[in-house]
């Protein structure tokens, strides 16, 4: 009898531990996904930095305006792609309690 009860108590303790561990980890998911996606898009981010630098360096007004326009377009595209990747990852990982990310609505 004691053995059975002890085994039951041990099982309950283990399951409780698992429950609290899962609850603790839930908070991390969005930030973790954002970090993962930003690491994947690091090259594009670097390219954007170099583009911004080129815009700064260009003295000729017309060329500067063209480069700036291109930079703005690439920047918006980067932000949209980043948000789309994160939103997709949130859906794939079935992250709860998040209805939308950026301008993207997350549907069930």
């Amino acid at each position: 009898m004691i053995e059975f009860l002890s085994l039951l108590v041990l099982a309950v303790l283990l399951l409780s531990g698992l429950f609290w561990y899962k609850k603790t980890c839930r908070h991390l998911t969005v930030k973790e996904i954002e970090q993962r996606v930003s690491q994947q898009m690091e090259q594009r981010a670097h390219k954007l930095c170099m583009q911004a630098f080129d815009v700064q360096r260009t003295s000729e007004a017309e060329e500067r305006s063209k480069l700036d326009e291109q930079f703005q377009d690439d920047l918006h595209l980067y932000v949209e792609d980043f948000q789309a990747e994160v939103a997709e990852s949130l859906q794939q990982n079935k992250v709860q309690d998040i209805q939308s990310y950026g301008f993207i609505r997350l549907t069930k």
Partner: protein, 163 residues
């Protein structure tokens, strides 16, 4: 080998205390500090209680064995709950080190469950050596992981300062 493993275990506990001091000096991630503090205090508590628990466990042969495994599992889950509660109370995100330490506590509890089943319920006694060395291995493993993530954090902080 057994004594050596326990000596190394105690040494690694001291290293955990040093890492805690380092994390305070460098103002590293709060979540990691909380988890490491609970780990250090939890292990100290278990070390201090061990002779008393051993004494209580030998009073009654039948209930004593059950008491031994249940009490260790309870302390391990209590430590895990403390980490969870502090994170929940302050709305903190659990760092990788915090999650690893929680997994270590869970693994220790699972080990108590398996060893109890092996020794008392099934009476096979196959996990005797495994039990001893896995407990020590888990305790030791926290140090290299803590060092790895702390070094990463310090490097990230330095990059941030440079920028």
């Amino acid at each position: 080998m057994g004594e050596f493993a326990y000596t190394v275990d105690r040494l690694f506990w001291l290293i955990c205390v040093l890492l805690l001091v380092v994390s305070v000096i460098y103002k590293l991630d709060v979540s990691s500090r909380i988890a490491l503090t609970v780990w250090v205090v939890g292990n100290l508590l278990m070390d201090q209680l061990q002779p008393y628990i051993m004494e209580l466990a030998t009073v009654n042969k039948i209930a004593g064995v059950s008491f031994w495994y249940v009490i260790w599992a309870a302390i391990e889950i209590l430590c895990l709950w403390c980490i969870y509660k502090i994170h929940a109370a302050h709305n903190l995100e659990a760092s990788k080190l915090a999650r690893y330490i929680m997994v270590c506590f869970l693994s220790l509890c699972a080990l108590q469950f398996m060893r109890y089943a092996d020794r008392v319920v099934l009476d096979t006694n196959m996990l005797s050596e495994v039990y001893k060395y896995v407990v020590v291995s888990i305790n030791i493993s926290v140090v290299p992981f803590a060092i790895f993530w702390f070094v990463k954090d310090i490097q990230t902080l330095r990059k941030g300062v440079a920028l």
